[in-house]
């Protein structure tokens, strides 16, 4: 039974959510005596160890009709005081408009902030709005964090990443590689 339990949890990715689920597969009730098994290291249940930056995270949803719409962000931050400057930008295929594309938030005003940005896409497809958050504390410490908000316009299948780039090549050895041309000087 323990073996089954271990395998199930590891196969599920062993994230914290899986722990409860896996455990309940094996134990009918928490108070039933059982012999727990060690399944691993902290990394097995952790989120990734991410790079340094502003203590800011994002969630977003988007609504709209046709190729115009609005992205509604929920910006969570972990600061007591200071300011947070939020900037959304598009590119040649999706543009943002309106004064709200840049917004400054008072960090003493709660830990979550709502922010809406209007956009217009040039065509149907999957696009990303670039978001930059720059936090400055009252101590003058500045840190930033980027976010890319995925927006789908129209009923289109998501384009595969890298679709517009050179294809990977399979070598005689079976290895998959990407060949990139070098600048070469032969003497």
């Amino acid at each position: 039974m323990n073996t089954v339990l271990k395998s199930s949890c590891l196969a599920a990715g062993a994230v914290s959510l899986a722990l409860g689920g896996c455990a309940q597969l094996a134990f009918s009730h928490a108070t039933d005596e059982a012999a727990p098994v060690k399944i691993g290291h902290a990394e097995d249940l952790a989120k990734s160890t991410v790079k340094s930056g502003a203590a800011v995270s994002f969630r977003h949803t988007h609504t709209g009709a046709g190729r115009r719409g609005t992205v509604a962000f929920v910006v969570s931050e972990g600061y007591d005081t200071g300011t947070l400057t939020l900037t959304a930008t598009g590119d040649e295929e999706i543009s943002v408009f309106g004064a709200a594309a840049t917004q400054t938030v008072d960090l003493s005003d709660g830990a979550e902030h709502m922010w809406s940005v209007d956009f217009e896409a040039a065509r149907d497809g999957v696009f990303y709005l670039n978001v930059m958050a720059v936090a400055e504390t009252k101590d003058g410490i500045i840190a930033s964090r980027a976010y890319a908000a995925r927006v789908q316009v129209g009923e289109v299948a998501a384009e595969k990443a890298g679709a517009g780039e050179s294809a990977a090549t399979t070598m005689p050895s079976g290895e998959t590689v990407i060949m990139m041309e070098a600048e070469e000087v032969i003497q």
Partner: protein, 554 residues
Amino acid sequence: MTLTIGLRGLAFGCRHALAGLAMVSLAACSGGGGGGDDSSTFTPPTSGGTPTSVTISGTITFDSVPHNSNAIGLNYSGITQEPVRGVTVQATTGAGAVLDSDVTDGSGRYAVDVDPNTNVRIQVRSEMVQDAAADWDIRVLDNTRSNALYILAGSLTNSGTSNSIRNLNAASGWTGAAYTQTRAAGPFAILDGIYDALADLTAVDATITFPDLQIFWSVNNRSADGDVADGDIGTSSYTRISGVPTILILGDVNNDTDEYDTHVVVHEFGHYFEDQVARGDSIGGAHSLTDRLDPRVAFSEGWANAFSGMVLDPVYRDAQGAGQLFGFAFSVESNSYPNEGWFNEGSIQSILYDVFDSASDGVDTISAGLGPIYSAWTDSDFLNEDSFSTVFSYLDVLQDEPAVSATVLNALRAAQNINGTGPLGIGETNDGGDMPNLPVYKPITVGGAAVEVCSNDDNGTYNKLGNRAFLVVTVTGGSRTFSMTQTSGAANRNPEFRIWNNGLFFVLPSDPIGQPEIVIFSPSADTYIIEAFDAENTEDGGTRGDACYDFTVN
């Protein structure tokens, strides 16, 4: 005919000297065969007829884009061509069959031998592989294109009848105002930082073994949550994917791309090091210099920041935004951060970097270098400590290193308002603004009185100080009941706990939300760490709040 060329690269390819040498020897490997100057006069065979083989040698470089002098943003007008060090170079046929291979030395030089009058391509693989006293296998792959390895390829050119030189450069792809060409330099810019990290670590341990590492980088890697195969990697990070140690690096132009943010790359390599070579108990998650963090996260992030400073320079730089012109920077040499303490990564990087560096500032009079820092990371006492890997357990080992003055180390930690001692931080007085955060580990005895533990969201969620409480218990065997019952706070909180032993945790059953958490099992006689928390404060989508609980072990 007389060619003036690099003698080391030509006559003594690194493959001839590689076996048994650590990376630190790579810079000198091509000179190990006979010394001599960087360049000399070489006269190809003149005995008449076609030689049995010819040597193709040269230098591999990549376009390196520096940061601006104020440390903010990239400076494309300052691009230099830097050597690609420690990577695999192959001579291949047009069909890709490998004729010979070498590893570039510390100056990017290589030499391969091939048949004369043969069409040969020189290609450079985005990998660093060494199978010697110190060994590693590190590859940069495109996670958005079938995890393919990058190859910088030269032309298919006849090898002729005499030795020749082929120099290859990986271009940045920047053409004045934007990236309009293939960003071939990216994978090699990433490996450049890794090379420096390997060199520093092998300098203090010539027999170090690094488990295989894959680095996922793509121009499609953006700061979006989703499928890694689509490039939605969240941000640059270290993790395990299907059990394989993996560093993910952003490549999204005009938003956040990190191939030239070498401190970011080395920071993540620092996480890989602690996870795979030493011991790391971090639970990961978002963090910043000003956060009050779970002490495991604070120690891990402070180490990774400090390590990037040790390997490169003390100013951590991260370019972001349109044109890669923005971003932020900080110095790990700084000793002043808001919210100093055992839960702040700034405090920890300050201590570790001060132990390392040769500059004296404030109470820092230590110049110990990386040696004792590495020794402490790999000390069996640290690796096998009952408690988590935190600043307490680490400094408890580091202070015993001969090159480290315990007196000065204590001054450094006191300057950061870290007062507890021993691996459990006993006697710590800095509560981070909330009394329930102390003691760091709450002792609990089998059959003893209930111990109060609390979980709050005052400093944020998931990995912040106050989300989780630690208890320490010693059991002598037998069936034990671990119980966590809410005593204050709103209804329907979700008490949960994990039981840890030497860095490993047990799979435990879980009771429903709103009910006490009760687990019965029979641990062997040993000391255990209990991590108690309210899942509403640690899981995505939870209802945040403060609550306290009685914890008992019977």
